[in-house]
């Protein structure tokens, strides 16, 4: 088979995959709302997907903020501009590192777990069993996990930002001696609610949709064998990470370009 054929087949497979993923999500989300049934399922998934991801997000945020404080200080001090450390740390986190690193960590921690869980539900015939019990697995299994991912990731990103800024403060102010008042007041005057904070939240929301969607689709369509679930879990992390990084460039160009 020629390279042209292989390329053509891959393109067609990709288009088909995107189409199937769209149909899956539409069938999961469109329909008569059932708040009485959905609410407990959503709360459980918010705990599994969101609350259980908090520790890794908070610890990573703290260290990344500390590194930013240290690196920023060593550069800025050469120009006598260490008072600008506050906005540097805050803007780096709010605009880029918060949404992106949270999404990458979320893909590794919660995304892979979602794929493995749903893949195993397929392998152990739990999804077929739901269908035969006249319960739509898309509404019952996919929808609450999707909303839990979409709700929790922006909140996790905000926590990441807050802890990261505190990490920058510890290193810059407490350790390296940057003026306390300058750190906070210059940050406050430089950070814009709409341009910096809200744009970061919008980015995080887009990443949340993409990462959760990829994870759920890969789990739902996983080959129900050990190698199949293993491959699907890997694909979730790889595809969603690449999608996050690619989309980040596009969103940054639109928002700040």
């Amino acid at each position: 088979m020629s390279a042209f054929h292989v390329l053509g087949r891959n393109v067609l497979n990709t288009i088909q995959g995107v189409g199937e993923a769209t149909v899956m999500l539409a069938q999961a989300l469109i329909g008569k709302p059932q708040p009485r049934k959905m609410f407990p399922l959503l709360m459980r998934q918010l705990y599994v997907v969101g609350v259980q991801s908090m520790l890794i997000i908070l610890i990573s945020g703290l260290f990344i903020g500390m590194v930013l404080g240290l690196q920023g200080y060593t550069i800025l001090v050469d120009f006598g501009a260490e008072q600008a450390l506050g906005p540097m740390v805050a803007l780096s986190l709010l605009r880029e590192l918060g949404p992106v690193v949270t999404a990458l960590l979320f893909a590794g921690r919660a995304g892979s777990a979602l794929t493995a869980e749903i893949g195993l539900m397929r392998a152990t015939e739990q999804l077929s069993s739901l269908e035969m019990m006249a319960v739509d697995p898309l509404r019952r299994v996919i929808a609450p996990r999707f909303w839990a991912g979409v709700i929790s990731m922006p909140l996790l990103a905000l926590m990441f930002n807050a802890v990261g800024i505190y990490g920058g403060f510890i290193v810059g102010v407490e350790w390296l001696g940057v003026d306390d008042g300058a750190f906070w007041s210059v940050m406050q005057s430089s950070v814009d609610w709409q341009d910096d904070i809200m744009n970061g939240v919008i980015k995080s929301l887009v990443f949340a949709i993409v990462v959760t969607w990829v994870a759920l689709f890969k789990g739902y369509t996983a080959t129900p064998t050990s190698p199949g679930i293993s491959a699907a879990t890997t694909q979730t992390v790889v595809y969603s990470s690449l999608a996050v990084l690619g989309l980040d460039f596009v969103l940054t160009a639109i928002m700040f370009g």
């Binding site: 152990t124 015939e125 077929s128 069993s129 269908e131 035969m132 006249a134 319960v135 739509d136």
Partner: protein, 266 residues
């Protein structure tokens, strides 16, 4: 005879591989129908076609006179409430207790008050001998217990028909005996129609009113257990007696043995 399921001239492929070529059969109402056949001949596929989890490429699958593949999504889900399937693995929900697994269809499809749900679930668990295991999680159950718990879940909505996918596979003789007894008793006491897909010839023949033997992409024999014992087909007799060689060959299709061994040195 009144038939609950009718399959007419069905063709079905998995990818390039043909599974069925013109299969026609009926499942009589109120009886236990055993479906026998070698591994990979499409016995489980038959159950999935009846439940419309798979769609035939050609032919008709009728349940209570309705063409399953023509039903809308909502009508299909309504029809599925009238049937039930016991999966080979049991397919219990791992995050729920045995009690919650059995209560699940009631909570999803009825608005019964909690005290009635408690009573119905306990009755169903009692009927499969697992009332004492209500609070256990599925991971704590043995294979036979998991299947009995799944059976309690299958009958909790009082379906018209239950499809059993390899209910005896991997069970010890005691568990197998319990399942045989349960399938037989439930069919009679609840007035069910049962389809039992299995390799275990003796167990199925002991309870089935009607038997269907599948092989080579089609039906090779059907009738009562007695009629099947007297069936002249070599294929049916090989399967019933468990002979290692016969129309279903011991050797998978391959090039001549001598060519394979000597060819490497040429």
């Amino acid at each position: 005879m009144d038939n609950l399921v009718e399959i007419k001239d069905v063709y079905f492929n998995r990818g390039e591989r043909s599974i069925y070529e013109g299969v026609s059969l009926v499942i009589p109402r109120g009886k236990i129908t055993g479906v026998l056949g070698p591994s990979g001949c499409g016995k489980t596929t038959l159950l999935r076609l009846i439940g419309a989890q798979l769609k035939a490429h050609k032919g008709q699958v009728l349940f209570a006179g309705q063409e399953m593949s023509q039903l809308s999504r909502s009508a299909l889900y309504e029809t599925r409430k009238r049937m039930s399937m016991l999966f080979q693995s049991g397919a219990l929900f791992s995050e729920m207790s045995v009690f919650e697994n059995v209560a699940f269809p009631l909570r999803e499809h009825t608005k019964l008050p909690e005290n009635i749900i408690q009573t119905v679930v306990k009755m169903k668990l009692e009927s499969v001998g697992l009332r004492g295991a209500a609070d256990m999680s599925p991971s704590e159950l043995s294979g036979g217990m998991a299947r009995r718990a799944a059976l309690a879940r299958s009958i909790v909505l009082d379906p018209e028909m239950i499809m059993y996918d390899e209910p005896f596979a991997g069970q010890d003789p005691i568990a197998m005996g319990m399942l045989v007894k349960l399938i037989d008793e439930l069919n009679d006491t609840l007035g069910l129609t049962s389809i039992v897909v299995s390799h275990d010839v003796q167990e199925v023949m002991s309870i089935a009113d009607h038997l269907i033997v599948m092989a080579n992409k089609t039906i090779v024999g059907q009738g009562s257990p007695q009629e099947l014992r007297e069936n002249g087909s070599e294929l049916v007799q090989q399967f019933l007696s468990g002979a290692p060689d016969g129309p279903v060959p011991f050797h998978y299709q391959a090039k001549p043995y001598s060519d394979d061994l000597l060819g490497a040195h040429l």
